[in-house]
Symmetry: C3
Subunit: 311 residues, 3 copies
């Protein structure tokens, strides 16, 4: 798909990290997906996927680059992926918003609506080298179970026996009628650490994510809760269809960093909120506009508007 629009972000013209950038920039993405598959005589599907994606953000142009590939073997309700996996946490229903960007605005606008923000978890990398792993997904009736495992080589040099980050995650989802519930858990080793109570703690270990939602056609709502070693966080999102072609989604997130954490924080303590508006123009083209207020003290406002089209 392609998407492009204008991004006005206060934080893009502030002394420091992005001061050589205007507040208003083009934001865009162009994504080509190459999906291939074949079927053995025994009815097992074997296939692969690779993507090429270009992104332009914050005044910086990007050329498209290919991703690492994902391979799969599927039979009945079971699918096993190898390589650039999706990740059990990232696939949890209720984690992302029901929008074209799965966040707010054209490009997600920082994905501040995720209760789990700040934590590291496996996800399909669309442009560039991804994490390598293996995962199994099983669906039957309203039930979906998903377990993923990834590991990386050590970064401490080739003369030590120190291997790299390992992540194991489990996700369970059950949908019944207009409702769904999701639970997910991640265990991690050899990853980044935060200082908590004076001790170094694995930041992405013992991550818990819970979500539940209801969709009554014209109106819907989702509640998500996350607990990491760093923070507790809760997000409430509400959705309304307006007229024949418009959808509005509004969300508010509250994040509470553990008082014992003194170094290594990746999220901001406080309340963030946003609103996303979409209008279906037909032919796979959607007008999208979004507003986000982050939990930062200053320069916390940004607005985006543009088009998203499928191909």
């Amino acid at each position: 798909y392609g998407r492009f629009g204008l991004d006005w972000n206060e934080a893009n013209d502030v002394a420091g990290a992005l001061d050589n950038t205007d507040a208003t920039n083009i934001t865009s993405r162009f994504r080509l997906t190459f999906d291939v598959s074949t079927e053995t005589d025994g009815g097992v599907t074997v296939g692969g996927r690779i993507r090429a994606q270009a992104e332009n953000r914050d005044g910086a142009q990007g050329r498209a680059t290919f991703s690492s590939p994902q391979f799969h073997v599927a039979y009945g309700g079971l699918r096993v992926n190898v390589g650039n996996i999706w990740g059990a946490i990232d696939s949890a229903p209720g984690l992302y918003l029901n929008t074209t960007s799965v966040g707010t605005g054209i490009d997600g606008m920082g994905f501040n609506s995720l209760a789990i923000k700040g934590a590291g978890f496996d996800t399909f990398t669309s442009a560039g080298v991804g994490r390598g792993g293996i995962e199994a997904i099983y669906s039957a009736g309203g039930f979906t179970g998903h377990v993923s495992y990834s590991k990386q080589n050590g970064t401490a040099g080739t003369s030590t026996d120190a291997n790299g980050v390992e992540r194991t995650a489990l996700m369970l989802n059950y949908s019944f009628g207009d409702y769904f519930v999701t639970g997910a858990y991640q265990s991690a080793d050899n990853g980044r650490t935060i200082t908590k109570g004076g001790v170094a703690v694995e930041a992405d270990d013992d991550v818990i994510f819970l979500a539940g939602g209801a969709d009554f056609g014209q109106f819907g709502a989702t509640l998500q809760l996350a607990q990491t070693e760093e923070a507790d966080s809760v997000t409430l999102a509400g959705e309304a269809e307006v007229g024949a072609a418009s959808t509005v989604i509004a969300w508010v997130n509250s994040t509470d960093i553990d008082t014992g954490v003194t170094a290594g924080q990746t999220v901001t303590d406080g309340t963030a909120f946003g609103i996303n508006y979409e209008y279906d123009l037909g032919g796979g083209v959607t007008f999208v506009a979004g507003y986000v207020n982050t939990a930062a003290d200053d320069n916390d406002n940004s607005v985006q508007a543009g088009l998203h089209f499928s191909f």
Copy 2:
């Protein structure tokens, strides 16, 4: 498309920049274009383009790389491009030669026929990161108007408020019967400078380009004039169809650098000329040969011959 051939260039085996290179090398290019578009219910076309291109020149092999994407919205005679734009100057009829390389020989051979050579202007970048901008093109009858704007982030570091190069260009073209006239102008800020009369001057600001041409079927001619802060330049090109499948284009360019310019020159003062021969082999395959004599004092000769094929 693809194109490949042999390039003999005196300057490629001269002490200095390219002395580890033979004078004779393969020159080639392979270009894949991915064009996508869709149409809204209101009849507006929304689409995008991305390219992957590989070039081999001067004995150096290149792998293909993707470009930055271009997005467009079009309705009737109006088209708006966002991202990796074409640029109003680069789109001026009369600027490039009417050959497969839009210059001389297989790979353009330095595009010495451009009266505007040496000036920086926006152009679609086919392999790699391009400039980010927005442009509008309107066509009605024989008239075309084109205005483009691009900007970049500052390069002086993120702790200063210095933003980067901005270019605004306007192009007007009118075609009537066998004739056309083109005028274009570019204004630029925060770009490269030359020293002129002891003062630093924006090199790519106040660029003026004028062209006119006539095409009487078997014979044609184009005259182009350019004035930049650095130089005045004029190119005359003549075209003749020979027999059923051959075309010959010959050109001569005279460039006169402003005597006040003491540093930052990007063009050579003097006269350059060239000739291009093409023979249509059918099936989209064209035999192309070219000879160029640049305005340099020494090692100013180069010859190319090869094939260009469309796919």
Copy 3:
């Protein structure tokens, strides 16, 4: 095509080069080939090929990258390639095994079955910049002749007149009934050197390769001999079809480094052997398993198993 599987390699968890890696890793490759061609009115085919390929090995993830392009002109039994050529040595029948990886296991497992291992020769580079050259291939009846030439720019800097590596290779093959014989020779200049008898010698010059084989349907065998400045090497491979869908190939290689060679060796003196098993699952999917024992003294065992699928 795509291929993926598990690789267990003792040498991947040994103090030194790969100690931050587990012994067991995913090995995979995803290859997209873009082939284009057209035909002139005179019946000459003109075309090009480019690839994008991603590989994951030894715990390191890779994204896909494009190759340099190859261009060709073909007429009757003659084909001329320009650019990223195949190379006459690399195209010699009998050099590679008759398996999906043309070596052992999923990813070739080091291609220890090649009698010519350690020598540098031209080959089509599928991901990244290749060598630039030109080659001609002529086939008539059971006879194939192949001559290739490549050169590179010098690497000693642009202020010297030192040009880079040049390779010229010739390959002749004749097939008659169930038998074939192949002979190939390479001459090289300005390449890497080894120290032999106290003197620096061009390592890839004067390379001789001979192969012969027979295929009686269910059983087949190939013998290959290679002589380089560094070593003499011989490989015997046997092939058997087992049942309707299985194929087993076993090989043994003996390499004898010249006693005068004191520096620059790229192969290990001694005996290596391996076995490859393939089972055709239908739909272009093949189960592949392989075992290799290299000529190294320690950590010389590796095993791979996985799937290969065509698309």
